[in-house]
Symmetry: C2
Subunit: 369 residues, 2 copies
């Protein structure tokens, strides 16, 4: 039986796995980048996750390796697997989360709904794509992007000159005229059991998630769940899978991004579901039965707390903010920096999404005041 779970990455996602690991009596060990990591409480190794020997030494102390982020080089993971270490999700699934070009190819092969796309290896290919798609494209570096980084809107080959000059393949996608963004969270354990949460609406500001509404009002919940299940099974994902979706004006869903780990769009589940995404991820990668994902309240709203400046840690405002009834505060223990994800707030309501949102907004305002 898997009793010790190793997480590579010491960010807030690893931090939020500490509680369910402790509740279930599993041991969580975190491989962090620095002493000051968000998950420092459970950190047992500090080092460079791209250095094979360092990661291997960590792997020897745990029963299974999983992740707080998708940046561990595939070569490192493949070598671990070749030596018999358990890695969940496996490198064969994770490569689709690491490389957007591989992801688009695979999803297209599976017949899943994606925006029109092309691999771009030259200015001519990009020019061609622009002509075919109304003179505008979303150009992406296949690897390394997150929170709006590694993404550019281009209207001419000149816009992309710098990236093209690097000589690496790029991904061009049509600019989808979406009306809103949704996210479908689900989890699959090693034995293949799969379970989803309700589809949520995500609101992005400057490419960073700002708020999440659960459930997404009037969304195609069944359609979103079917897409997520086909991805989880088709790509052999284990653990939590987040599928970010565009919804167009006629209600069509198109797959935007994938993450194979707990995800910002699922933080609402800590209070808003019988089983949180963090507990479910641990159950899945330990190959335990998945937990019940029914909501604990009809409506949930999650608001991110983004860094204001180098001083504002939000905690100073607790004497006012903690008076807000019904708001759940989650602090990530990070030093303050403008734009950094410093924490989040969740509020629930039996009555309406508006009521939940009002509570969360009041709490957020009090933390900024």
């Amino acid at each position: 039986m898997i009793k010790t779970i190793g997480v590579i990455g010491g960010g807030q996602l690893a931090r939020m796995m500490i509680t369910p690991a402790q509740e279930l009596g599993l041991t969580l060990k975190v491989f962090a980048e620095s002493e000051e990591s968000s998950a420092s409480l459970a950190a047992t190794s500090i080092g460079d996750y791209t250095a094979y020997e360092t990661v291997r030494n960590f792997a020897e102390t745990v029963d299974v390796i999983t992740f707080d982020h998708e940046h561990v080089p595939l070569t490192v993971l493949e070598k671990l697997e070749a030596e018999g270490f358990k890695v969940q999700p496996s490198s064969s699934a994770l490569r689709f989360a690491q490389n957007k070009l591989s992801m688009r190819k695979k999803l297209s092969e599976l017949g899943l709904p994606v925006p029109a796309w092309a691999e771009i290896n030259s200015a001519a290919e990009l020019q061609n794509f622009l002509v075919e798609h109304g003179g505008v494209a979303v150009l992406k570096t296949p690897t390394g992007g997150y929170d709006g980084k590694g993404v550019m809107i281009v209207r001419s080959v000149e816009d992309a000159a710098e990236w093209l000059a690097q000589g690496r393949p790029l991904l061009a996608e049509e600019k989808v005229e979406f009306v809103r963004e949704l996210a479908q969270l689900s989890a699959r354990n090693i034995s293949g059991q799969w379970s989803s949460w309700t589809v949520v609406q995500t609101v992005q500001v400057d490419g960073v998630c700002s708020e999440v509404l659960s459930p997404a009002p009037n969304a195609d919940a069944t359609g979103a769940a079917i897409i997520a299940k086909r991805i989880a099974e088709g790509l052999g994902v284990t653990g939590v899978l987040a599928v970010e979706l565009f919804e167009t004006s006629d209600g069509t869903l198109l797959i935007n991004e994938l993450a194979m780990r707990p995800h910002n769009s699922g933080h609402f589940s800590i209070e808003g579901s019988i089983t949180s995404q963090f507990e479910q991820h641990l159950r899945a990668v330990a190959d335990l039965p998945l937990g019940d994902t029914k909501p604990t309240a009809n409506f949930a709203v999650m608001l991110n707390l983004l860094g204001v400046d180098d001083n504002h840690t939000f905690i100073e405002h607790y004497p006012q903010a903690l008076k807000i009834s019904g708001a759940h505060f989650h602090t990530y223990g990070k030093s303050a920096r403008k734009g950094r994800k410093m924490g989040h707030i969740t509020a629930l309501s039996a009555n309406s999404i508006q009521e939940a949102r009002q509570i969360a907004v009041r709490a957020k305002e009090a933390l900024h005041a």
Copy 2:
């Protein structure tokens, strides 16, 4: 502002404070008895809590001292306070939780409902008490008792010969013919804000809590809350206060025991209330506004997991037990021992206490199978 909270005692109560401390971004430091404590994740000191210098060294690393148990000698706490260290609850309140004779005297002075009682310093005094109370008494050692230890039913002076021979004062109480036991949990912060949860029914087996039903069906919730508030204010309690109550056949409530810390009767609040007793305790001793104690579901049932033998850690049964939908598992990370509190299970229901209990019982049975 209080940002670092020190807990003396490394048991499951300290363990369950780790999550809310992390969520709120407060630092929790635990003074544990051994390396293998339940709260080892947050342990920063290991030592003897009766040794003043050791406790003082720990106190210097935190903003406030609080407790996982009430066994720290009053002399140690008074010396800390005299040196200016913050202790919450303070020694002036905690002495009533440490000494049942002091507690009975104080509650009687406050005019609160308690069983008939007397201080016993001789066989003659005990004989007198037995004659006046139908030939039976509950005899207690004023200090050191817990989970049924330090309590004896006596029907003659001879029954108490060993305790009387020790020459220390004893507490005699009438044997209350109660129909059930209730517990009223509440919390009071340093500024005096007070808040209660719903009154619960507790079921004891062999003097150890076995299960908790929230709310207690058909109980005098208002009466219980009034008693708790008068105790919290009358004794100057800070942090969580658990008041254990007897309910007699006519619905009268009599105060049995007090605990000034999170308590087994309040574990249901982790899932069953917007604010858990562990979060509330931290808020209270950090003098932050108290959180909302409204229930998250109409009904909650908590079942304790008591050790079966030296091998059974419950976790081995997860492949079956975690299939039980709606059960929340809490494991304390202790080595197995017969009768030891190893963990607990909570289940909620919108419909009935029976439904919540059925879920919890099924999960408990699966963990024993």
